[in-house]
């Protein structure tokens, strides 16, 4: 990772908004996210949480306002490989096993030092399911297989859309644990959730979406 200047925020939004058919999906947002920070995006259904995450992931074009990554305008190649996005659709091929899915992800994104696919799958709680087609896993297990990407792939900023959905209590604790380790290591994360979450490392920042 590049030695980050602590005063420059990792991600900064200035009067960011997005228009769909000329109607703003959410009101102009201003926020900053520094290395080591966790931000919780809150809002009701339809308040534009997912849209916001998709904009930050570079999948949607910025409507109005500005986005800065490490102080520079966010562009596709300035943050390539530093942002990891986990959306509603998990990005897993149903016909492949979790192991194959992760191997492909590692092939495309690279992989953290000293981490192996088998170890990651064991850590996420999929021991014994490594070679089962994803199609046959339960919803919660699929979610875990997708979350395993967080452990395997190198990234500075995590964008997690409803990471707690479909997870049991152990799974939720696991996600919280992952987030804590990530922020401790100097990473940052933006998490959307309408449920409450118990984050051990102090109170997370909150980004409230107004409707």
């Amino acid at each position: 990772m590049t030695a980050a200047n602590p005063t420059v925020s990792l991600l900064e939004a200035r009067a960011l908004s997005f228009l769909r058919q000329d109607e703003p999906v959410f009101a102009p947002l201003d926020f900053q996210l520094h290395a080591g920070e966790l931000a919780l995006v809150e809002g009701d259904n339809g308040s534009g949480k997912t849209t916001l995450l998709r904009i930050l992931a570079g999948l949607l074009h910025v409507g109005e306002g500005e986005l800065h990554w490490r102080g520079e305008p966010l562009q596709r190649d300035t943050c390539a490989g530093e942002i990891l996005f986990l959306g509603h659709q998990l990005g897993l091929k149903a016909d492949l096993s979790p192991r194959e899915n992760l191997q492909i992800a590692a092939g495309l994104h690279g992989c953290r030092d000293g981490v192996s696919v088998t170890a990651v799958l064991a850590e996420i709680g999929l021991r014994g399911y490594e070679d089962e087609p994803v199609r046959r896993l339960s919803a919660g297990q699929k979610k875990r297989a997708a979350l395993a990407r967080l452990l395997l792939l190198p990234a500075t900023l995590w964008l997690l859309d409803e990471p707690y959905a479909n997870l049991d209590r152990i799974g939720i604790a696991l996600v919280n644990d992952l987030l804590e380790k990530h922020t401790d290591a100097g990473g940052a994360a933006l998490v959307t959730s309408h449920g409450t979450m118990s984050f051990h490392g102090g109170e997370p920042r909150r980004i409230r979406m107004h409707d």
Binding site: Q21, D22, E23, H61
Partner: protein, 252 residues
């Protein structure tokens, strides 16, 4: 990137400005189109003498050739607007490109049918697989593809961008089709027909043709302005200037 575009273009590109601008010009363009069209028709159908080879059948030329020219001219306009729409994301360019497509398709359709009506008495066949005819047919399919793609999207602006992309691909395609059909005709020697006789046109025939070409240009401008205005109202439905227009028109 947007600093590139001159300021006036930006200003004209703003929907309310263009709406007013087009509203002023549209009646003038339509009047000119009707006037020139009437003159051209009188010159072409009444004043111009019959052709010594083709008799009176050649009079189809006064609508066929201007339509054929318009089918390509409009595609070029659409292509330029599509390019601007994709590069600078100007809403007006998207609208111009997408509203040009139906007009272009109409002219292409007229060209094909009138050409066929002209071909029957002259070559004895409604259709021949000549490079020009085939290119024109492909052009019609391209127009229909652009229109179809535009309407297949729920988000109008996304549809406009996708269809603009297709329009640009089509620009590359038409010359290739023309070239390949020409090549194909040399392979199948038997079926080639000399489409246009090598006769030079007399001035009596030429001036109505040129006038009609001008009339169709003005018609296109008028039709495009009317369509763009309507589309802008639909696209900018939430904006204040559109509300004012809607309220004003309700009063009158």
């Amino acid at each position: 990137m947007s600093n590139w575009i001159p300021l006036w273009l930006h200003k004209l590109g703003s929907p309310p400005t263009f709406y007013r601008f087009a509203g002023t010009l549209q009646p003038w363009a339509m009047t000119l189109a009707l006037l020139l069209g009437a003159i051209a028709l009188y010159g072409g159908l009444v004043l111009a003498p019959a052709d010594y080879q083709q008799g009176d059948a050649y009079r189809i030329i006064f609508i066929h050739v201007p339509s054929a020219e318009m089918s390509m001219f409009i595609y070029a306009v659409m292509g330029v607007a599509a390019f601007i729409a994709l590069v600078w994301r100007i809403k007006l360019a998207e609208v111009v490109a997408m509203e040009s497509a139906p007009i272009g398709a109409a002219f292409t359709f007229i060209t094909l049918i009138t050409g066929s009506l002209w071909g029957k008495p002259m070559w004895g066949t409604w259709w021949t697989w000549d490079a020009r005819l085939t290119s024109e047919l492909v052009l019609l399919f391209l127009y229909l593809g652009v229109i179809g793609l535009y309407h297949a999207f729920e988000d109008r602006r996304q549809g406009a961008r996708a269809a603009a992309f297709l329009a640009i691909i089509g620009i590359i395609n038409v010359p290739i089709v023309h070239f390949s059909v020409n090549w194909w005709n040399t392979l199948h020697q038997g079926s080639t027909i000399n489409v246009f006789g090598q006769s030079k046109m007399s001035w009596d025939m030429l001036w109505p043709l040129l006038t009609m070409m001008l009339a169709t240009k003005f018609y296109y401008a008028a039709s495009l302005f009317r369509r763009v205005r309507t589309d802008l109202l639909a696209l900018e439905g939430g904006k204040d200037w559109v509300r004012k227009i809607a309220e004003d028109e309700a009063k009158s």
